[in-house]
Structure formats: structure tokens, C-alpha cells
Symmetry: C2
Subunit: 330 residues, 2 copies
């Protein structure tokens, strides 16, 4: 059935209400506002827009994956502050020719990650729209002091969780070969479609006060490193050979080498600064982070800028370009 | 200058940062998430989508008015819970051919009401988009127990703040006569473009525990009354002659009588239930509400449904239709 055959308060409302409501929700969906408990007298909130044709293509993304990713990218922003997620506010602009099953699939993707992450859907709005778009806000509790982008100091080590560039490579394969790339390159493509937010790593690093500045890699390593450096008033050196690359990445990237790892977006790994004196402490808790971590560089004075060097100390020249929505190209 | 000549982190970011940051904001715009203080261990959050061509027309709405109204409608939702607003999260989809002045005007409208209402802009996202749309979430503190839609009982009186139908009539005039209607019908049109959220009335009624169920009139009196009745498990009788109509309304509505007051949307007045024994208490604090209030009906058993009667006790037959976005008509 098509959405235009339904009222706004028909199926969509029923689907939303079907999402389980967890701890801390005093009043959920269905009144003028949600009433929510805050622990520790404070909370964190992050927000993301995802628009069809700009942030995703329905050609190669399932509605289920899109729901899952919508929540994952917001969880990742909270993880980068050292915070775990709690309440989701989800607004959708939906084309009237969408099938109700499409919308159900989207919510199924949301629910799959929400129930695993302890997230309750507490509100939002829906409207007809020409293109599909998603506006999500996610609230998290802050048991520890949140980690900003601004605490890095000259001399700190730079670490990153997981591997870099898989998602960008997965997207490239989808663009080039369409959905049929999914079988052969399932690892890289699932890294793009179903990113993992590093909540355990983020909250552990915050609790142990190990990460002094942190950001999630969503625009690409160099771009996000620049944000962190700017906020901290520092520069950085990245060791090209130290970049953590997956086996699938090495096989597929070929001559492009670390290019996607340096500039590709949507890794949703965490990049953080660590005081050198904390290296041993980090070693000891490494296993509790739930994901490998790799030292990839160090913080230097701001005047030295941001550079990537190889083993011989030679500098790689890379133009750092992030995604610019208003130019609509990388 | 057009937006496509700017980066996303150019002017828009500067405009957002220019919005003053108030009390309770520990970390504002510019990191992965905002960090906010919660009073009384809890908070409320509401959310609204506004899409060009569906919720507003740029033909007769200035960007300033649109910014103002975006915030006002969200404040109204919080007022209907008896809550005052604190933090705004604002995401915008902006066509690339918009001028930067347009976006600045929009934020000026936001700022005008934000600074008057003690609201801080704490986050959000921006992206290019084919049509202009606005997704706003607003967080409020709850010093008193929030008032839901579900506390009405048979025998309660029904009250409404301000006057009804002005906004719908103002919109009708704009549609029919365009912007040149603004001079002659300035009152009705400003009620449509610059609605007043009834924060003082809402919070006072919550503090005094007078309103037992409350909702803001955004979809039209009968539509929102139905929401309240459904949540409370009651029916209602509305006295047609008691409906508060402005002088401008009476002049313009003519033969249509109370039609716009009953079914027109976007009044952003508060509709609430009061126990009959509290009539005297309400009389005493009336002046502190900041807006006139009028008794317009009473709550009856659910089986009697919702009806409008005139002085002679005759029932007016009105089909209650709200705005259905997916059918795109009233």
C-alpha cells in the first residue's frame, strides 16, 4: 500500500509506537512533548540530517540499512564525547509514493540497533516531502566529563580505533558496480552501510580519563583531524605506514594506497589524543575497548600544520577536501 | 551572495555561533554534541518539521517571520505541558540558490524570539536541499509535573486562552490576496505569521495544578480537542456562543461564523480541563496568566462523543478534518 492512501496518524504512528520504550522515559511518543529523566543533572544531544541524493542513494541502500545507519551515525557522535545513547527523536520527510513496507523496514533498522544500544524512540514528526529525508536528534547521559575536541596538547600521541577507509572504498564499489558489488565486497560494503559506533571505546576512554580530545571520523581522517587540531590549537603529524588498514582494504585499494584511509568519510572510528605518560595505562585497558586501537601520529605545534609522512620522513602531499554539501562534490 | 558560493562551514556556521548562549549550556555548538544542564533531574523535548510548500509558502512569509514562527510553535508545545523552553536544536535543508541574506534573516527571526524566551541555540545540522525545510527540537525544563493530554475527567470545564480562528483567517487572506493583504488585515495576518506561545499561562496553570489535561491548538480546536478527549477517555461539549473571537475575526468571518475558530489551525492557544471545584481558584489567578481565558465547554462521557451546541442546545454538524500531509489538503 502507498503512503498517500494512509493518514499521517495511521501506520506511521503505529510503527513508531511499536518501538520499545526503555528506562528513563516518563512520557514517550504521543503527547505535546516527551518527558525524560536526566542522570547526573546533565545530558548531551547531537543531531544529524540525512537527505536522499546527498547523503544516501536508495539505489544501493536498503531501508533497513538506512534506519540502522541513521541511528549509528548519531550514536557515534555521542561516543566521541565519551557518552552512551538513551533517547532518539526522529523526524522524517517521506515521499507519498513510498510503500508502507519501506517505512516499516526503515523503522525495523532503527529498532534493531536501538534495542541493542538501549535507545528509546521518544518523539519526532513526519510529513510528506518530495525527497526522503531524515532528521535525527539523539540524547545521551554523561556519567563522566564529556571529552571535547579541544583538549589536545603538543606532544600527545594520536590514536584511532578500528580500521580506516573501508567505508569510502565500499561506497566507491557501490557507485561503480551497483548492488551486485555486495556479494564480492561484502566486508567493505557492510562497513559503509552498517557502521559500528564505538560506544564502549568512547565511554571507557572517558571513564579512565585517557582521551584528552576526541572526535569521530565521519568526514575523513584528515578533515576531522583538522577539526580536532583547530579546537585544540595544535598541529599534527600522521605516520602513513601506521594507518590501520583492513585486509579487504589492502586488496582493493591497490595503487591508491592509504588515500581512502586519509580522506574517505564515514568510518565512524574514534580519533583521540593521549598524553605520552598514559601509554602504559592505555596498554592495560586496551582489551576492554572492544576494538583494536592504533597509534597513528603525534601532536605538534600549530605552526607546523597537519602533515602525513612516510617511514623515510618524506611528506605526502594531499589536498584535504571534505564533503561540501553546497557544492555537492568532494 | 548565493549559498553555493559558500562552504557549509562558512557563513551559516558564523551565523549560528552569533546566537547568544545562555544559562545551562556547558558545551554549545561546535563539538560532536552539546552538553546541557538539566534541572530537577529531568527535561522535556518536542520536535517539529516545517517544509516549504506544505507548512509554509515563501510567497507570503518573510524569512524573519519563518524563523520566529519555527521557534514559537515549538515553544507552544512545551507551554502545553506547562514547561518553559531552554535549548534549541535546529537543522536546515537549504536550496543552494538561496541568498545568504535570506538565511541571516531566518536566524534573526529565531534570535528575536530566542532572546526574549531565554532559549539558547545549542546544535543542529545544515545541508543543501531541493526545497527549504526546517527540523527543530526544543528542550524545556520541568519545574512542576508536566501536564499531559490524559488527565481530563467527566464534569471538568474546558477553557481556552486568547482567541480562536484568527490565524486560519489570516492564512486565508494571504492565500486569496497575497502579501498586499498585510496592511488591511494586519492583526489577523500577524496572528498567523507571528503566533504567541502561551508560556506564562501554561507554566502558571502547571504550578498551581489547575490544568488537569492540556494541549495547544495547532491543528484546529475540534481536532486538538479530539486528541485530548482520546487521551483522557472522555467526550466534550463545546458552547458555540462562548468561543472567544477577536473583533477582527468577527468583522471578516461574516457568514462563516465560528467555522475558522472551530476547525482552523495554528492558533497556538492552550486548551485545558479544569475541575469544577477549582473555578474560584482559577478566577483568583486569572490576571497572572498574561492572556484572557474563556470557558468554552465541558467534559462528558466518551460515549457522547464531541459536539458543538448553540444557545438553544441545537447541535452544529461539522466534519472534523485536520490537515493530512499525505493527502496534502484539509
Amino acid at each position: 500500500m502507498l503512503l498517500k492512501e494512509l493518514g499521517e496518524f495511521g501506520l506511521i504512528e503505529r510503527i513508531r509506537r511499536a518501538t520499545p520504550t526503555g528506562r528513563g522515559v516518563r512520557i514517550g511518543i504521543g503527547d505535546d512533548a516527551a518527558w525524560l529523566e536526566a542522570r547526573n543533572h546533565s545530558f548531551l544531544i547531537t543531531s544529524d540530517l540525512l537527505i536522499e541524493g546527498i547523503h544516501f542513494e536508495l539505489k544501493w541502500t536498503s531501508f533497513y540499512a538506512l534506519g540502522y545507519k541513521t541511528l549509528a551515525v548519531n550514536i557515534s557522535d555521542l561516543a566521541a564525547m565519551g557518552t552512551s545513547p538513551a533517547y532518539l527523536i526522529l523526524s522524517l520527510g517521506i515521499p507519498v509514493d513510498f510503500k508502507t513496507e519501506d517505512v516499516e523496514e526503515f523503522y525495523r533498522g532503527i529498532r534493531a540497533l536501538a534495542s541493542r544500544s538501549g535507545v528509546s524512540l521518544v518523539g519526532g514528526d513526519t510529513s510528506a516531502s518530495r525527497r526522503f529525508f531524515i532528521s535525527a536528534s539523539l540524547v545521551g547521559h554523561s556519567p563522566y566529563r564529556p571529552i571535547t575536541r579541544g583538549g589536545g596538547k603538543v606532544g600527545d600521541d594520536l590514536y584511532v580505533t578500528g580500521t580506516l577507509g573501508d567505508s569510502a572504498l565500499g561506497l566507491k564499489l557501490l557507485k561503480k558496480r551497483g548492488a551486485r558489488a555486495k556479494e564480492k565486497f561484502s566486508y567493505l560494503i557492510s562497513r559503509h552501510l552498517f557502521p559500528s559506533a564505538r560506544v564502549k571505546a568512547g565511554t571507557t576512554l572517558a571513564r579512565e580519563r585517557l582521551a584528552k580530545a576526541m572526535i569521530d571520523v565521519s568526514d575523513g581522517l584528515l578533515q576531522d583531524l583538522n577539526h580536532l587540531c583547530k579546537a585544540s590549537g595544535i598541529g599534527a603529524v600522521i605516520y602513513e605506514e601506521a594507518l590501520p588498514l583492513s585486509r579487504a582494504y589492502r586488496t582493493v585499494a591497490g595503487k591508491k594506497g592509504p588515500l581512502y584511509a586519509l580522506t574517505g568519510g564515514e568510518d565512524y572510528e574514534l580519533l583521540f589524543c593521549l598524553r605520552r605518560r598514559d601509554r602504559n595505562r592505555l596498554e592495560k585497558i586496551k582489551k576492554r575497548l572492544g576494538v583494536p586501537i592504533t597509534r597513528i601520529g603525534k601532536c605538534v605545534p600549530a605552526r607546523e600544520g597537519t602533515k602525513v609522512i612516510n617511514r623515510k620522513g618524506e611528506q605526502r602531499s594531499i589536498s584535504v577536501t571534505g564533503y561540501d554539501h553546497f557544492r555537492n562534490k568532494r
